[in-house]
């Protein structure tokens, strides 16, 4: 068993980065995730694993530092929250276009604009439907516990390098700020320079006589070549949809009704289904772990079993559109969620289920 610690979600992300053999973290402070860079600054990992930690002048700069280092084959990550993530969208589009592996964490706060520093899940569209310009997708992982904040860092890098694609961890202020028990995984050594060159033959590590020069770019001025590049990206995304769907089902076997929720809302819904069952209502919880690729087929299957679905999100209703697409009007699908940093209570969510789905 690994070392047990009581940690904030944000601290767990930072500790996991050190342990996962990450080469560099570039970031800019913003509430509610500043503990990530603060923790890293305090730990001084450059003295132990050799990991670089640098506070950039902006999120624009930090995401482009990620671009540069990722393009040179290094394992690099950054984190931010809503307003900062919006600034990173340009860079993420370039990173996806140039097919660079990296991990980006969004500890979501309420918006739009400067919004609030309290938790929200209103960046779902931005994370799963693009956000930046052009046809691109990122694998989006949604942790629902501090343990998953830690575990999704190495998982994120595995997926990022498997697909040469950015991986996005969509957390929120609740998971970022709360403390839970974490079992820390063992240290993984950073790749040596030789390993980087062998594992990432595409990276700009310096042109040696044996190979053509490596170019990291997202620019293809010839429309025919650009379309081919787009087709290559789309094929990659199709492979993700086939192989990387992750989800969790809680008390779904006998469920007559279903709550679909991810991240912090899934935690709240877990309590709601307990309260429901105390009242004799058989409710299950379906928790998407990957928001891209979204578990369309599994939710479609559930629609053959349950009488209605409530999508519980800390937003005006974003994921609910994907659920509706999966269910295709077979059963009733409704959304419930508080906004602006207010967190729905388990009882409130159950009440919404009773009113909107179960009915009179």
């Amino acid at each position: 068993m690994g070392e047990l610690k009581l940690m904030k979600g944000n601290e767990a992300i930072a500790e996991a980065a050190i342990r996962a053999g990450v080469d560099a973290y570039f970031g800019y402070p913003i509430t509610p995730q500043s503990e990530v860079i603060e923790y890293l600054a305090l730990q001084k990992p450059h003295e132990t694993t050799g990991m670089v930690v640098l506070q950039a002048e902006s999120e624009l700069a930090s995401i482009n530092m990620i671009y540069g280092a990722a393009g040179a084959g290094k394992k690099v990550m950054t984190s931010s929250s809503g307003p900062g993530i919006s600034l990173m969208m340009e860079g993420l589009s370039y990173i996806a276009g140039a097919e660079l592996p990296c991990v980006v964490v969004n500890v979501v706060r309420g918006g739009p604009g400067l919004g609030t520093i309290q938790p929200a899940q209103s960046d779902y569209f931005q994370a799963t439907k693009g956000g930046g310009h052009g046809d691109y997708s990122m694998i989006v992982l949604a942790p629902a516990s501090v343990q998953e904040m830690s575990d999704f860092v190495p998982l994120g890098f595995d997926l990022a390098f498997k697909y040469r694609n950015p991986v996005f961890i969509l957390s929120d202020g609740l998971i970022g700020q709360m403390m839970e028990k974490v079992e820390l995984f063992d240290f993984v050594p950073r790749w040596t320079e030789q390993e980087i060159i062998e594992k990432n033959p595409w990276a700009t590590t310096g042109k040696t006589p044996g190979r053509e020069r490596n170019i990291i770019t997202s620019l293809y001025l010839d429309p025919g070549i650009q379309e081919k590049h787009n087709e290559k990206l789309q094929a990659k995304y199709r492979k993700m949809k086939k192989e990387e769907v992750r989800f969790e089902k809680i008390q779904c076997d006998d469920a007559e009704y279903l709550i679909v929720a991810y991240g912090s809302s899934a935690r709240i819904a877990q309590k709601s289904i307990l309260l429901a069952r105390e009242k004799g209502i058989k409710v299950g919880l379906f928790r998407p772990i990957t928001l891209f690729p979204f578990p369309f087929n599994e939710i479609k299957k559930m629609a053959n079993q349950v009488k209605g679905i409530l999508s519980l999100e800390l937003s005006a209703g974003q994921m609910v559109e994907d659920i509706k697409m999966a269910v295709n009007e077979k059963i009733k699908v409704e959304h419930f969620g508080r906004m602006g940093g207010i967190i729905h209570s388990p009882a409130e969510a159950l009440e919404a289920l009773e009113q909107k789905i179960i009915g009179e």
Binding site: L6, I117, K181, K271, S345
Partner: protein, 184 residues
């Protein structure tokens, strides 16, 4: 066993660290734990509260609207949280600064004059540990030895010399907590 606790008071009273020590004590006896603070600008000097859950099972929602136990350290928190104690639950409060004491008849109420005691002991910084001692007397859900281990885990090394004082404060809290209203 699941124990859902809210600890609420002023920022600077050690509300968050008391919750952290309690959560760490839970880990020391192999429990699942969660610690969810209110955060933001209001932390800087205003009211602060933290929800702590100790459980033998996987914890669902870290945010709650009713609690098994409320530990209340100022009047604002009393106004806000007295009504959210579950019927049959427990409320512990420090009498210092409380102008309207709790009036509910369907819960157990205890009073601990920890602020006064801390200044008598000349150790105002360990006020929160006296309160924790009071809680442990009323709800002996975690072993004292695990609390000491939790204390060591959650305090940075440079504060470890203060552990004996903290221990003394916890012991004092065990002694001075007083029942106000007990359910039959």
């Amino acid at each position: 066993m699941t124990e859902e606790i809210i600890i609420a008071g002023f920022g600077g009273q050690g509300v968050l660290s008391m919750g952290k020590i309690l959560a760490y004590s839970g880990i020391m006896q192999n429990q699942e734990v969660s610690w969810m603070p209110s955060y933001g600008p209001e932390m800087r000097g205003g009211t602060a509260n933290v929800t702590v859950i100790l459980s033998d099972e996987r914890i669902s929602s870290p945010i709650l609207t009713e609690y098994d136990t409320a530990i209340i350290l100022n009047q604002q928190s009393m106004d806000k949280f007295e009504s959210s104690v579950k019927p049959g639950g427990t409320l512990i409060y420090d009498g210092n600064g409380i102008s309207s004491p709790p009036e509910r008849k369907d819960i157990n109420i205890y009073r601990i004059d920890a602020a006064d005691e801390a200044s008598k002991m000349g150790l105002t910084k360990i006020f929160n540990m006296i309160v924790l001692g009071g809680y442990l007397k009323v709800k002996p859900l975690v072993d004292l030895k695990n609390v000491i281990l939790g204390l060591k885990k959650s305090l940075p090394d440079r504060y470890h010399h203060m552990i004996p004082d903290n221990e003394k404060a916890i012991m004092r809290g065990l002694e001075i907590v007083e029942p106000v209203h007990i359910l039959n």
